[in-house]
């Protein structure tokens, strides 16, 4: 006659059989495990060294940059720059720029657009405008300087008897 065994009893029986299970692993596994771990630690160390080098490099670059900046500053002493007439012209030029730019723009654009209309049809309008602007600015930047420098003696003639005291004490003579 067979005796019934409860599930729990059977489970316990099986569990007890596997309580001290042990099978000796092959020797090469140990080597493989510790080799893999050594590789990992080497990689970690290299990573740390690499990060250190990067940080040092960045620091050195930063320090070098700061030193260069300081060097430049010391090389150019804050001495009053002798301002000659052309500077005044330049100031005038800058003040007049918005108006002149508009004028040149109006003058140059139709001609440029007419010549470049086929080539630039599919491209970005902003990009199209840029060469024209540059061209316009280029043409503008030459002309006013020439014209102003030509006008300058006339202005100076008017103030013949006066001595202009500017930040750098510049005397303008004929």
């Amino acid at each position: 006659m067979q005796k019934k065994m409860k599930n729990e009893e059977f489970d316990h029986y099986i569990q007890s059989q596997f309580a001290d299970e042990a099978i000796t692993p092959p020797q090469q596994i140990e080597g493989a495990i510790f080799e893999a771990m050594a590789k990992n630690s080497r990689r970690k160390k290299l990573g740390v060294i690499g990060t250190g080098i990067l940080v040092l490099g960045a620091l050195a670059y930063g320090v070098n940059g700061t030193m260069n900046t300081a060097h430049v500053v010391t090389e150019t002493p804050p001495v009053a720059v002798p301002v000659a007439a052309p500077v005044a012209v330049e100031v005038l030029d800058q003040e007049e720029r918005p108006m002149q730019k508009q004028e040149v723009h109006d003058d140059v654009l139709p001609a440029a657009a007419a010549s470049a209309s086929i080539v630039l049809e599919d491209s970005d309008p902003a990009e199209n405008a840029r060469p024209d602007n540059l061209e316009a600015v280029a043409s503008r930047s030459v002309q006013p300087v020439v014209s102003n420098s030509q006008e300058l003696p006339a202005i100076l003639h008017e103030t013949d008897s006066e001595v202009w005291v500017m930040p750098a004490t510049v005397r303008v003579k004929e």
């Binding site: 067979q2 005796k3 019934k4 065994m5 409860k6 599930n7 009893e9 059977f10 489970d11 029986y13 099986i14 569990q15 059989q17 596997f18 299970e21 042990a22 099978i23 000796t24 692993p25 092959p26 596994i29 140990e30 493989a32 495990i33 510790f34 893999a36 771990m37 990992n40 630690s41």
Partner: protein, 187 residues
């Protein structure tokens, strides 16, 4: 499971500091247990070696998280079992659905095996014959003491599937062991 002794704690502390001699000592002491668990779950030496290697690397990488208040052997066993599960899931994605169709009955009790003394090897052979899905649930629940909820989470199956797989595994194992005992009686 072995109780944590002062010497064990000292070796573990050294392992936490990355002492490779201590790591080798721990390996020497527990590798046989780890390998047996890996073989039980994979049923193949080659796969067991992969699981073993992966598990030991995890052990040493995460040993800092081990608390001395717990059983170290239990902690190691969990790691190798979890690694075996990952390995199983990686390789046997569609096995579970096939297994479900294979067994029909779900018994409540086992017939008397108390008189028949199965050796551990015989039991291991019988368990290895279980279809993979059943075998996995059976080993996790019966031998390694996982709960159905944990098994369901680990294997990515439903809680009821885990329960039914265990019942079917028991039935299957009963048939296998019964056949083995009949053969033994005849001999």
């Amino acid at each position: 499971m072995r109780a944590m002794e002062a010497a064990d704690i000292h070796i573990i502390e050294r392992c936490k500091k990355g002492d490779s001699n201590a790591q080798r000592q721990v390996y020497a002491r527990y590798s046989s247990m780890m390998f047996a668990v890996a073989i039980r779950y994979t049923n193949a030496r080659v796969d067991a070696e992969d699981v073993m290697q992966e598990a030991w690397i995890k052990v040493f990488r995460h040993i800092k998280s081990f608390s001395e208040h717990n059983s170290f052997e239990g902690w190691l066993r969990r790691i190798v079992v979890n690694t075996a599960i990952t390995h199983y899931r990686r390789n046997q994605k569609h096995q579970f659905q096939l297994d479900i169709e294979e067994v029909h009955a779900t018994p409540n009790d086992f017939e008397a095996f108390k008189e028949i003394d199965f050796t551990k090897d015989e039991l291991a052979k019988a368990i290895a014959q279980l279809p993979k899905g059943y075998g996995m649930v059976f080993k996790l629940y019966v031998i390694d003491g996982f709960k159905h909820k944990e098994i369901a989470e680990q294997l990515g199956i439903d809680l009821n599937t885990s329960k039914s797989q265990l019942s079917r595994a028991r039935r299957y194992l009963q048939d296998v062991l019964h056949a083995m005992s009949q053969r033994a009686k005849k001999e």
